[in-house]
Symmetry: C2
Subunit: 151 residues, 2 copies
Amino acid sequence: MAVRLRKSDLIPIGEMARRTGLSVSAIRFYEDKGLVEPVRSAGNQRRFLRSDIRRVSFIRIAQQLGLTLGEIQAEFAKLPYGRTPTARDWKVISTSIRRVLDERIAELQRTRDRLDGCIGCGCLSLKKCALYNADDHLAAKGPGPRQLLAD
Amino acid sequence: MAVRLRKSDLIPIGEMARRTGLSVSAIRFYEDKGLVEPVRSAGNQRRFLRSDIRRVSFIRIAQQLGLTLGEIQAEFAKLPYGRTPTARDWKVISTSIRRVLDERIAELQRTRDRLDGCIGCGCLSLKKCALYNADDHLAAKGPGPRQLLAD
DNA sequence: TCTTGATCTCAAGTTAGGTTGAGATTGCAT
DNA sequence: ATGCAATCTCAACCTAACTTGAGATCAAGA
């Protein structure tokens, strides 16, 4: 028995917007960026697959997590080629994003600790300041351990 | 005995750039935004006060901490009017920024926890997803808990 | 069939934080 | 006094992530 395509299997952009909470223009923008690839109707209107709802929703979520569209693109590259992604596929991505979050948190904590050092030492005294000296400039200026801030 | 202004007390923009590690154009941009207000030489060239070095350096640091120029301006508003800021003045600001960092870290941790929930629940199942539903939209659609995994 | 709402494309505008370049002056050391 | 580096202003350009608007076309119910 052949698989029947119900019309509800192909979603127009307006419904996509409703279902994902994104604007129509944003979705078109994502298509431009290659994040989603709807097919076209006879009259050249976009028609999305049901699985695209999840895909597009994921863009929204990942952005809330602080990923750029480029980074999201990179995550999408991990999705299976030629078949609709499963829960397991998405889980792999979620886990990878968790690592990004962990890194981001750790980074912020390191920064905060450095700032604490600065406050404690009556700092922002530039010459000694770990934050100020985070970057290159001020090359070899005085002795002692120099802490560097990851960019 | 009158205070003598040595020429070294008024710094041209090039030296400012060298001392802060910023580009000349960036410093001019900050002036545009009202973050620093150099005086002008007879020939209309910018002349910065020594204390501006710290001020401008602070912009750089605060940006690395993730503050926008607008937020930095808000912090600067706390500096004393009409006198060169002391170490104590800067400390007040640093402390305030510490609070911003704390908030940011807490927020990220909450997000990570939500993501963990999602991963745990085989999530990104949209309807139930804490991340997905973090925002408003959520148009009641059809009956029963639909799991979009089925697609 | 008519009419209305949904879509289409393409161009331009928006905010943040700058950079780049042109063409004109300034400032300082010989 | 002159020569050259530093500076000046102003306008245009850049990335990211979209939005807005104009003018044209599509889809579907009465």
